[in-house]
């Protein structure tokens, strides 16, 4: 049996549709664009947060009440019609701009982040992302997002110190907005639509970080993956964040050996028998990236070296595990099982503080494949009307 290689499919998400005439523009003339049910609650953040838990809308953390006024203000700073269908979620529910904005308001996300959130939702709803499995699984997996382009600074998306969590920035509200959309629209509610055994802190606040392009010796991730220059987001599924410490290595090959061996362990998702393949995302700190680039000419060379170390001997697995891997053709002629089918399936990007010393392992789930989308340029409705 041969190795199963990862090749993207040609499947795409459902085309957008409109519900009413747009002749009047986003302001809507006499049309009430907002079609969501209105619910009466007491006028306080405490009362609304409590109500949101009872209604199944919230995550238990404080939420901003999504009143008509707040939702309309958020919309007015963008040029999206609220009835625009962005994606159909796994249970065929419709993720419209209106639902996205309501959840973004609740999370306290800035209005300027709408196009980023929309691009993120478009990415995870692509069939190859396999959100259906990501949502339902007993695993702790959740979608993570890597942002490229000037929008990183405009929205204060962290890509240096503490980029995977802990930085004080409203980007955290963007991550949480996406998590609320996952809960309220996409159907990832623990104990109801997801069987996650342990869950993860990332299922609360999300994971959204930038690539430190200015410190990267390689082209930006979105450009390498999809030929997209400028603002773009790459969605990937991750079981959480895994730290790889290396205070001792010297030289590119030694660092990459340490990273490769560390991310490859028997219980890693990449060795699950449920699928024959998976990807793996790895963040490399700027100091390490610079050292690596001095010795290896291209990012493909880096992936190749790393991939050769991201493997374990088949004999490490107990017989029942080994039998399944052998049946799937995953034991190679060198007697090893590789984390991914090919070097290209290691998704590498540069991020992290200048203290170096660590790498960031982000194991994917099942056969969920990372997706990259461009981020549209928002233009406020008022500006359009003035033209």
């Amino acid at each position: 049996m041969s190795i199963h290689l990862i090749k993207p499919s040609n499947r795409t998400t459902t085309a957008p549709k409109t519900l009413v005439s747009r002749d009047c523009g986003p302001a809507g003339c006499e049309v009430d664009w907002l079609t969501s049910k209105r619910v009466e609650v007491e006028d306080s953040i405490e009362a609304f947060t409590e109500a949101s838990v009872e209604l199944g809308w919230g995550d238990g953390l404080p939420l901003i009440p999504p009143t008509d006024a707040r939702v309309r203000t958020f919309l007015s700073e963008n040029d999206r019609y609220p009835d625009e269908l962005i994606a159909r979620m796994p249970d065929n529910s419709e993720c419209t701009v209106e639902k996205i904005v309501i959840n973004a308001v609740m999370a306290g996300a800035p209005a300027e982040s709408l196009e980023l959130i929309i691009a993120a939702i478009e990415a995870i709803s692509e069939p190859d992302f396999e959100l259906y499995g990501v949502n339902a699984t007993t695993a702790p997996v959740y979608p993570g997002f890597i942002v490229n382009g000037p929008i990183r600074d405009a929205l204060r998306i962290p890509y240096s110190y503490g980029c995977a969590g802990g930085v004080s920035t409203r980007a955290n509200a963007i991550g949480r907005a996406i998590r609320l959309i996952m809960r309220n629209v996409a159907g990832q509610v623990a104990g109801v639509t997801t069987q996650t055994t342990f869950g993860s802190p990332g299922r609360l606040g999300g994971l959204i970080l930038g690539e430190w392009e200015e410190k990267s010796p390689w082209a930006p991730l979105a450009e390498r993956r999809a030929g997209l220059a400028g603002n773009a987001v790459t969605a990937f599924s991750t079981m959480g964040t895994m730290n790889i410490l290396d205070t001792t290595s010297s030289g590119a090959l030694a660092f990459l050996e340490m990273i490769g061996k560390s991310v490859s362990y028997a219980g890693a998702n990449c060795y699950s028998p449920s699928m024959e393949y998976s990807e793996m995302t790895i963040g490399i700190n700027p100091i390490c990236a610079e050292i690596i680039a001095k010795e290896l000419a291209t990012i493909e060379d880096v992936q190749e070296v790393l991939w050769n170390h991201a493997a374990v001997p088949a004999e490490w697995f107990q017989k029942l595990h080994r039998d399944q891997l052998e049946a799937q053709g995953r034991v190679r002629s060198d007697g090893r099982v590789y984390a991914t089918p090919e070097p290209k399936d290691l998704v590498l990007f540069v991020c992290g503080g200048l203290g170096g010393l660590h790498a960031l392992g982000l194991h994917s789930f099942g056969s969920s494949l990372a997706q990259t989308k461009g981020i549209a340029q928002a233009e406020p409705a008022e500006a359009q009307a003035a033209e």
Partner: protein, 186 residues
Amino acid sequence: MALIKVLDPTAKRMDDNASPGPDAGSLTGKRIGFRLDQIWRCWDWISENWADKFREAGAEVSFWRSTNRSGEEGEEQARSLDAWLKSVDIVISGLANCGSCTGWTIRDAVAAANTGVPTVAVATKNFEDFAHELAARGGRSGLRVHVLPYPLNELSREEVDPVAEAYFEGLLTVMGASLTEKEIAA
């Protein structure tokens, strides 16, 4: 305290087919399809056991195995499933024994039920409620679900075979199989 109106942030599909779909009826001459996966060996063993019983009752049996759902292989899986569903008269879809595998077991069972063939999803006890929840969210709240004990895959073949024997009659009931005297004798 003053009251305000807030907008509902949730979205769910609104349509539902609460019918369990047609009964399996007599099994003689029917083509019974087992939907398998590549993770639960206990389901391979149980489906083999049940397949033998169906053959003895005069039915034909075929198997379809779910693998990768993304990329080109995912596209091929979708085509393969569609073709297989057209080749069978009854579908038994399993095994709902984890989160994602319950998801895909139910998704494929809903696809089968939507073609109009008698369909039963098979779940282990721990994932029974989840299977019904996903069926409802898939637009088939009435989907038939046959429940096996849990845990199951952790058991040996010698322990699983008696489970297959003990739960076959229950399967026939959930399927709506109306056995002929010959089938009962078998």
